[in-house]
């Protein structure tokens, strides 16, 4: 039986892969290219984290992530034209995935003995570097650098993790509270179109 966390992780991976595959389809990638972009979106952040932490990339020990990305491709091939009606659903899934991936990144980094400021960065990388890879592959400026409170939600979640830990909460409570804060920040930012200021400087 899969655990609750595994189910959430599957949903998050699926949602991330869908986001990559949809952008690939807009650029007329073939099935293989779309699969690679979807996979890179889903596992890219965690892979970069694991390389920096010098541990075996997580997806090399469990084929679930590759299968999940394959199912996402199948979904887009079969139901692509109905996906537009599910935008809100996928936004929810994507935000849940973001929250969970951030928690996994923060927790794994702390477990390896790194300080909190490294863990917060690794949480941000886990949640958002996949989207950067995706945008590099489709030859666009990474979206998260321009218009979205996305990686910032990860960073806030990481700081929340730290605060909960300082307050002496249990690990489970810490993860739940900081995961929910990632979700809420992301949700509110999109709902009320909250952005960070654009940097204006002389070039």
């Amino acid at each position: 039986m899969p655990t609750f966390v595994q189910i959430i992780e599957f949903i998050g991976t699926f949602a991330f892969a869908i986001s990559g595959i949809r952008l690939a389809s807009a650029k007329q990638f073939d099935w293989f290219g779309a699969y690679v972009v979807g996979l890179a979106t889903a596992i890219g952040g965690g892979t970069i984290r694991d390389v920096l932490l010098d541990v075996t990339p997580f997806w090399m020990t469990n084929p679930m992530y590759l299968i999940c990305s394959g199912l996402a491709l199948l979904w887009v091939i079969l139901f692509g034209k109905y996906l537009i009606h599910l935008n809100n659903t996928f936004f929810i899934f994507d935000s849940i995935g973001l929250a969970l991936f951030t928690m996994v990144g923060v927790g794994k980094t702390l477990a390896l003995g790194h300080p909190y400021w490294v863990a917060i960065i690794m949480g941000g990388i886990t949640g958002s570097a996949g989207g950067v890879l995706r945008d590099v592959f489709i030859n666009e400026i990474p979206l998260i650098f321009r218009r979205e409170i996305y990686a910032m939600a990860c960073v806030i979640g990481g700081i929340m993790f730290w605060i909960c830990d300082l307050l002496g909460l249990t690990l489970i409570m810490t993860q739940i509270i900081s995961g929910i804060s990632v979700f809420i920040v992301r949700f509110l930012a999109v709902k009320y179109q909250i952005c960070l200021p654009i940097l204006k400087g002389e070039h």
Copy 2:
């Protein structure tokens, strides 16, 4: 005396480097930039593989790959305008290199104790990630995501490796058969312009 595999590897590296240098020349890179792009094309896939496998990148233990890429640059500088007549020759060399690189990637991953599905992915990364790096450096959408059965040839070769192993063939026979199957898939795909379907989805 270099072994047969070393000669093939040299030819493959040369052909991969040439492909990077030619695309760089079309974008008016200088000699240094063209060399870096050629080198990245030739060694990028194996480097990413070795980083993921947590072993020393192969080119750091033998300067042959850097020298070979330098010779490829010299070749393009001296004979660039005649290269166009050698397209078929380079296509053959490139496909031989692809086959060999895939076998090296699959074999190295298995030797480190990883399961077959990881080895197949590493074979694909060894054969095709260099071309992705090349296309990122010249600021184009990676070619293999759009029109080519290229990485798919690696994947098919990796699966063939697995089947031969299941059938109990010797390592040499397994490598020869699966290497040849990479070459044949790539050759037939280009000759008969076989493509994967383009993904059409609502953006």
Copy 3:
């Protein structure tokens, strides 16, 4: 008290981060995106070096680099419109940073027992891969591939390091002489607009 090298390293990191943040501002990145691009420019080269050398990325053991990039962002936010008058100052800082980063890269690689030709490449990666990452993030063809004697200055500095070592000079003298040669090559190349030849080949 910070040592002389730490002060130089801080200045170099600041100058590298400024170069990333300014290019990001020209593409209308938000504050967060500009920070990430500045940080990637400053620490990207050393991170890739450390991943290839299989050691912990240098910035994970000292938060100075993240803070320094944050100060660079603050500087551009507050004084962005005056930056244009400081171009020459920043060029000097950037060249000092390049020289120091190259020395750090060469020295660290040699200390790990790798041969000189690997150390020279790692010096070049330390000095220039951050700028390549920056240009990939802002979706431009990397500048160093096209018009600048930049990475070449690192390579020349690395070769100088080797020569000084062969001549039996002390480590300090070797570092000073080869660091200065990086600076001089870079300075002269920009002052007299010295470029490498553009590669012209049939595409």
